[in-house]
């Protein structure tokens, strides 16, 4: 029997400890969007197939639409809102704006999460590595190649800022 009793679940979202009153098997996505108002994470397919709902859980990209709250209790969740540094967008988001690498933009939060997850562990990815990292993200409009170029550009700007800093 799934545990559907209402209860409080504690989760760390973007560095903040959040206590949410919900069922333990409620999807993380609904808590983010409806309880916490973090609407950058998108509902796409609801089936863990399209990548629009990706968030970082302990720094690894994961689908929030099929991750129940009990699975993220006391774990570190980062949404696209939490990626920016001191009010500036994450380098991947900035590179996507700079390269106009989105068409409708519905998938793009998930893309930024995948890119951030990649760049956190590999700041000099090859194009193939970028494509592999974005493999879980669907874009139905056709912006894939622009997105790949933007992520590669983000990687080089990250390296440049690191070298200069």
């Amino acid at each position: 029997m799934p545990d559907t009793d209402p209860m409080r679940v504690t989760v760390l979202v973007n560095g903040r400890r959040e206590e949410v009153r919900t069922e333990r098997d409620t999807a993380l996505l609904y808590v983010l969007r409806n309880h916490l108002g973090l609407t950058g994470t998108r509902f796409g397919c609801g089936l863990g197939l399209c990548g629009a709902c990706l968030v970082l859980i302990d720094d690894r990209p994961a689908y929030s639409c099929d991750t129940p709250m009990w699975a993220v209790e006391d774990r570190d969740v980062t949404t696209v809102e939490g990626l920016g540094v001191s009010g500036r967008p994450h380098p991947a988001a900035q590179a996507i704006i700079d390269g106009q690498a989105a068409q409708c933009g519905y998938c793009i939060s998930g893309v930024v999460i995948s890119a951030a997850g990649l760049l956190a562990v590999n700041d000099a990815p090859s194009e193939d590595e970028v494509r592999a990292a974005l493999d879980r993200n669907l874009c139905r409009c056709g912006a894939q190649n622009r997105i790949v170029r933007a992520v590669l550009a983000a990687a080089s700007s990250l390296r440049a800022s690191r070298d200069s800093g």
Partner: protein, 680 residues
């Protein structure tokens, strides 16, 4: 006004239908031009493109243009945003309207300074005289100046004078989407908003008899002191159970459920099994012989098909609605709400709907019709949704939300379809079979050509048929099924027949469309309607004929193509792709290349593509070289409306812009699952 005595420009149709200049733009004292279009942002970047048109004619920086999302009663009525016509329609109207607004403001300045308009210049909204005096649109801003119908007396800029149109400017919507700030209809969070769900039978052909919502809704009921109420809701603010006070208007077959993804058992009775579509002429009606000038040497025939295609949008169809007895929130000052008193007003109901529909006015008309309200009682506001590639379920979700909102006046209701709702009930792109046959002469050139299509119609949008084109309306007691689509005339782009007429200079051709009147799935407009299966058939068959004649596919096409612009895109793509010198990487026999050519709708942009394709365990497009000629004479920017679709050069087109030709290169390799199993 500039140049009295100048010839009057004929007003573009959109402007003629919505002639008041103030409906198209307002100059605000703060240095902003508010521009309104009846066309809506579907992810194609149209608001940015239209902002460029306005900025160009007004001589202001694009950053000063604020695009206003379409709202009924305020925005011009430009019907549906479809058919790659937004720049042609709305762009043309804005071009003339903004040129006239510029002339009006210049006229005011000229009058003030007592000098001719021709002595004034405008730069970024600042109006300057040769003697150094300056003023600006912002200083002169006055809504009354544009409270007049367009005359067509102000001459828009000549194409060679364009400085903004045809350049790449950043999309106006992307910063919000990357920040991210709420911008999608799914992000709406109104005070007291409830979530509603409509339970439908699992597929067409089934009738819903009962819904067993236990145990999904049991827990909520137990918690809910108002458990006696039949239709619990999800309360946005608390996450707890709310409840609809009244049974929603749609009795029996539709009930509002608690949450989108609650498992619900639906008890259904299948209706009579769907009849397979069999037109009287199936499979091949005898065609009368085509007149031939020469004796054919050989005859060829091939058949092509496409399956039903799901729309498969990235995001679910969604809408929010609010019913109230108070007047719908009033519009900005300059806008005139249509007159209010009418029969339906007796009920005093006002309905406001937020939707990602392709047409706010057509949806308003259809909602009013379905709900027996007057149009004045309904306000439809466009809010962006996920990328839209044709008629999706946005309008249906709007009807769902409207029905539920009417059941709980005063509480906004949001409906978000599930993926199962989408795949079960959204309009599909119709399946089709295309048979092409040709007689050829001794060289292999075509003497006569026959093209036949079997398939459902493509346009069942709200407002396009006799029956109400909204799903919930068809499901209500007494509701009529949504009728199969009619075939629009070719002059309007056609439906199944789009691009079926060959663009080649064949001595004789015949095109027949066998319209199937039984609709096993609900079908409607997707992408280029019949365009892509017809082009696929024509171009594939051209390859068959070239191969049979032992001729190069490019040479074979050029030999039979008279249109100079068509020839030019083929020649450009051949040159840029290195067609003549091409050889597969290594000695791989699994890689090949080929060419395709079409002019969209036989009346719009020309396009030729060379594809390098690899077929091992799967077919992969390794490289596409694309040449586009989108110059339509008076509106070279139309091509900038990015193509929509994952096999589409929109990637480059909207980024690079285009003047006449711009051969484009693109390595289209897999990024993620390009082959969405739901799609092909």
């Amino acid at each position: 006004m500039a140049g009295s005595g100048e010839a009057r420009t004929a007003l573009p149709p959109s402007l003629a239908a919505n002639p008041r200049l103030g409906d198209w733009l307002r100059v605000l004292p703060g240095g902003v031009v508010e521009v309104r279009s009846g066309k809506v942002e579907l992810g194609q970047g149209v608001l940015t493109a239209l902002a460029q048109v306005a900025a160009e004619e007004l001589d202001v920086d694009v950053a000063r243009v604020r695009m206003f999302a379409a709202v009924t009663g305020i925005s011009p009525d430009e019907g549906t945003t479809a058919g790659s016509l937004s720049i042609q329609h709305s762009g043309a109207a804005l071009r003339v309207a903004c040129a006239e607004a510029r002339a009006i403001y210049l006229g005011v300045a000229a009058g003030r300074w007592d000098m001719p308009v021709g002595a004034l210049t405008v730069q970024d909204g600042t109006i300057a005289a040769q003697d150094g005096r300056t003023t600006s649109y912002w200083e002169l801003a006055d809504d009354r100046l544009l409270d007049r119908p367009a005359t067509g007396l102000a001459e828009p800029k000549a194409v060679p004078d364009y400085r903004i149109v045809g350049t790449s400017v950043p999309r106006v919507d992307l910063p919000d989407k990357l920040a991210p700030r709420p911008r999608f209809v799914h992000d709406m969070a109104l005070d007291g908003m409830l979530y509603g769900r409509v339970i439908r039978p699992p597929s067409r052909g089934a009738t819903l008899l009962d819904v067993r919502a236990e145990p999904a809704m049991g827990a909520a009921r137990r918690r809910d002191r108002r458990a006696r109420r039949e239709f619990p809701w999800r309360d946005h603010r608390t996450g707890g159970g709310g409840a609809a006070r009244r049974r929603p208007a749609a009795r029996g077959r539709e009930v509002a459920g608690r949450a989108r993804n609650c498992p619900m058992r639906t008890i259904c009775r299948p209706s009579s099994p769907p009849r397979p579509p069999r037109p009287a002429s199936w499979p091949n009606p005898p065609l009368p012989p085509v007149r031939r000038r020469r004796r054919p040497r050989a005859s060829h025939e091939a058949t092509y098909h496409r399956p039903y295609l799901a729309h498969a949008a990235m995001g679910p169809s969604t809408a929010t609605a609010l019913a109230s007895t108070a007047p719908v929130s009033t519009a900005p000052a300059s806008t005139a709400l249509a007159s209010t008193a009418s029969a339906g007003d007796e009920a005093g109901v006002r309905l406001e709907v937020w939707t990602h529909s392709q047409g706010v006015y057509p949806l308003r008309r259809e909602l009013a019709r379905a709900l027996k309200l007057t149009e004045d009682q309904v306000r439809v506001r466009h809010v962006e949704g996920a990328g839209c590639y044709g008629h999706n379920a946005a309008d249906d979700a709007a009807m769902d939300a409207a029905l539920l909102a009417l059941a709980v006046p005063g509480r906004p209701v949001q409906v978000v379809w599930s993926r199962a709702d989408e795949l079960g009930w959204e309009p599909y792109g119709p399946a089709a079979v295309v048979r092409v046959a040709a007689d050829v002469d001794a060289r292999g050139d075509v003497l006569s050509w026959q093209h036949e299509i079997w398939g459902n119609g493509h346009v069942t949008r709200p407002g396009f048929g006799r029956s109400i084109g909204l799903l919930a309306a068809s499901h209500r007691d007494g509701g009529e099924p949504i009728e199969p689509a009619a075939e629009p005339p070719l002059e309007r782009g056609g439906g199944a027949g789009r691009n079926a007429v060959p663009g080649y200079a064949f001595p004789a051709y015949r095109v027949m469309n066998h319209r199937l009147s039984v609709m096993p799935l609900r079908t409607s407009s997707l992408r280029s309607l019949g365009g892509f299966v017809n082009v696929f058939a024509i171009e594939s068959f051209m390859d068959e004929l070239a191969a049979a004649a032992g001729r190069d596919p490019v040479e074979y096409r050029l030999a039979q193509l008279a249109d100079p612009r068509g020839r030019a895109v083929i020649e450009a793509v051949v040159r840029q792709s290195g067609w003549a010198d091409w050889s597969p990487a290594g000695s791989s026999r699994s890689v090949g290349h080929g060419i395709g050519y079409a002019r969209y709708k036989n009346s719009s942009a020309y396009c030729a593509v060379v594809a390098e394709v690899e077929a091992v365990t799967e077919v992969r497009v390794r490289r596409l070289t694309i040449a586009v000629d989108g110059r339509p004479g008076d509106q070279p920017r139309r091509c900038r409306e990015p193509g929509r679709g994952r096999r589409d050069p929109g990637d480059q087109l909207d980024a690079e812009g285009t003047r006449a030709f711009r051969p484009l290169y693109r390595d289209q390799r897999h990024l993620g699952q390009l082959s969405d199993p739901a799609v092909l």
